[in-house]
């Protein structure tokens, strides 16, 4: 009998997700014609397709994830494999904890003023990529640190006993073993990136056409949905279609994450 509230709660949550997905697909179905993913938007985005938005999303999320990984992995490895004074580690850890919690709109404020204004990039994919990378880096770093810390110390001790230096130990031994646990933060970050509207609204802009260089503005799919609901008159129907596509993308990424974390458990 004690199980009952639990079962009800779980079913309730799952039912909500399914309802949401079905509702979006149902309402968005009208706009989802055959070429939806390949056409450009017409009539202020109220009809046509979302091809430019998909391209912008791919570019911004891909580059930002790459950039964030490029700085997060060294930080995480340095944090776990180097012996730094405890005070320094505490500072780094606290800073990262703060960074993880910063609301996306605040990153958007900062990114718009710093990358857009001060650095002079204006409304561009570049501003968006840099801002999103700043947003994703703390999350990725903490994820990587968790993954690295899960590797048992035997490896590190054996290498130390054999006289292998820290760098080799870290990158040739520990990281490969930790690799399954390191891919999940990447996928998670990609998911967060796709879903972001607040941080990119003020940095990558709301341009609804195909960006041809990193200095062009480009709306990602989430920004596009927000824009349709907020600034484009009569845009609500088109918003449902784009939201349906977003839902499916989130679903795919979630499946990838589930697969990756299953692998991790098996590999151990």
């Amino acid at each position: 009998m004690i199980k009952l509230p639990g079962i009800i709660a779980t079913l309730f949550i799952v039912a909500l997700v399914v309802w949401m997905g079905c509702d979006l697909l149902y309402r968005g179905a009208a706009g989802l014609h055959a070429d939806y993913l390949f056409e450009a938007p017409r009539d202020l985005g109220r009809s046509g397709g979302i091809a430019p938005m998909l391209a912008s999303t791919g570019i911004i999320v891909g580059l930002a994830t790459l950039l964030a990984a490029l700085v997060s992995l060294p930080l995480a490895v340095a944090y776990t494999e180097l012996e730094a004074p405890t005070g320094l580690r505490k500072i780094v850890r606290s800073t990262l904890d703060i960074g993880v919690g910063v609301p996306r709109i605040v990153w958007g404020l900062f990114g718009g003023a710093f990358f857009g204004g001060y650095c002079g990039f204006g409304f561009s994919l570049l501003s968006g990529v840099l801002t999103l990378a700043c947003l994703l880096a703390p999350i990725m770093t903490t994820g990587f640190i968790t993954g690295l810390e899960m590797v048992e110390n035997d490896i590190r001790e054996q290498c130390a006993a054999l006289g292998v230096d820290r760098w080799q130990t870290a990158w040739r031994q520990v990281v490969p073993v930790a690799l399954p646990g390191l891919t999940a933060p990447l996928a998670l970050a990609a998911g967060r990136g796709c879903g972001d509207a607040a941080a990119l609204l003020f940095t990558a802009g709301v341009a609804m056409r195909m960006p041809y260089s990193l200095f062009d503005p480009g709306a990602t799919l989430s920004v596009f949905v927000f824009h349709l609901l907020g600034t484009v008159p009569g845009g609500q129907n088109a918003a449902y279609s784009a939201a349906a596509v977003l839902f499916i993308i989130t679903l795919v990424i979630q499946l990838a994450i589930t697969m990756l974390t299953r692998e991790e458990r098996y590999a151990q």
Partner: protein, 274 residues
């Protein structure tokens, strides 16, 4: 003594790269505080503590925005925590492996859905029932923090040693008592889950702004409400000068609250061994 060989250079390079995220966070904090300080000096603490927020008339009172944030978050927690803990308890303690994996995937999916999509759905289904109000805002928020709390609590509960639970069962205790044992053992992890869920709730802007009504007022269940973050997102577009800096001040307050919660939550997580 240090010898500058290749390894040292490599580590230096790695640290050079790795320091960038930290720098970015510090730059953000500096940027916010600098602008917010400017605004608070110009507006004055007295005026800030007032209840009227009307920038065009020169009023910058944040009191009602603070109460709005607290009210919306509190109600969201009230709605989300029971559901999340029940689900987490069931999945961690009673459900079979496949059921748990599938449910976790679905819950993870809910957690991954972009905030603008949740806002859109809430606008379609929640607003017609409850209007643009406090309740609608909290419902939308609850949708977004249930996954965080459920998954983190679930992870904490899974860490409870199996033999402890088996021993309890072997001693003839009911499932209810066993559950209490598990929850007690995992209390730090569960606390951290709730705290981290709260910090996510505090930072939400997009979804809440679509259903809350965005009017600074004393919290009343079916009346519209404004929070720090909804004010930010509604007014940021058109704000300039002092108004803009005042908005940065709002962002500062949010950031401070979230930072405090984040640090505490993560520390609790580490204590729980997650």
């Amino acid at each position: 003594m240090f010898r500058w060989n290749k390894t040292r250079w490599l580590w230096a390079g790695a640290i050079g790269l790795g320091v960038l995220p930290v720098l970015a966070i510090l730059a953000l904090a500096l940027f916010l505080f600098w602008n917010a300080a400017g605004a608070s000096v110009q507006i004055g603490l007295r005026e800030l503590a007032a209840t009227g927020w009307s920038p065009q008339q020169g009023q910058y009172g944040v009191a009602l925005l603070l109460t709005g944030t607290l009210a919306v978050t509190a109600l969201a927690l009230f709605l989300a925590v029971p559901v999340a803990l029940c689900a987490a308890g069931y999945l961690a303690l009673s459900a079979g492996g496949k059921v748990r994996a599938a449910a976790n995937a679905a819950i993870g999916l809910l957690g991954g859905i972009p905030s603008v999509v949740i806002g859109l759905w809430a606008m379609t289904w929640v607003v017609p029932v409850f209007g643009n109000s406090w309740i609608s805002a909290s419902v939308a928020l609850a949708l977004m923090i249930v996954p965080t709390i459920t998954l983190l609590s679930g992870a904490a509960l899974r860490l409870v040693p199996a033999d402890l639970l088996e021993a309890s069962r072997a001693l003839g205790m009911s499932e209810g008592i066993v559950a209490r044992v598990a929850f007690h053992h995992a209390r730090w992890g569960i606390l951290s889950a709730v705290v981290l869920g709260t910090s996510r709730a505090l930072g939400e802007a997009v979804a809440v702004s679509m259903v809350a009504g965005n009017v600074a007022s004393w919290p009343s269940l079916t009346r519209p409400i404004a929070t720090l973050t909804t004010t930010l997102i509604v007014e940021l577009d058109g704000a300039a000068g002092l108004h803009r800096n005042a908005l940065y001040l709002l962002a500062c307050i949010v950031l401070l609250a979230i930072s405090a919660l984040s640090i505490f939550g993560r520390a609790a997580q580490r204590k729980a061994g997650i």
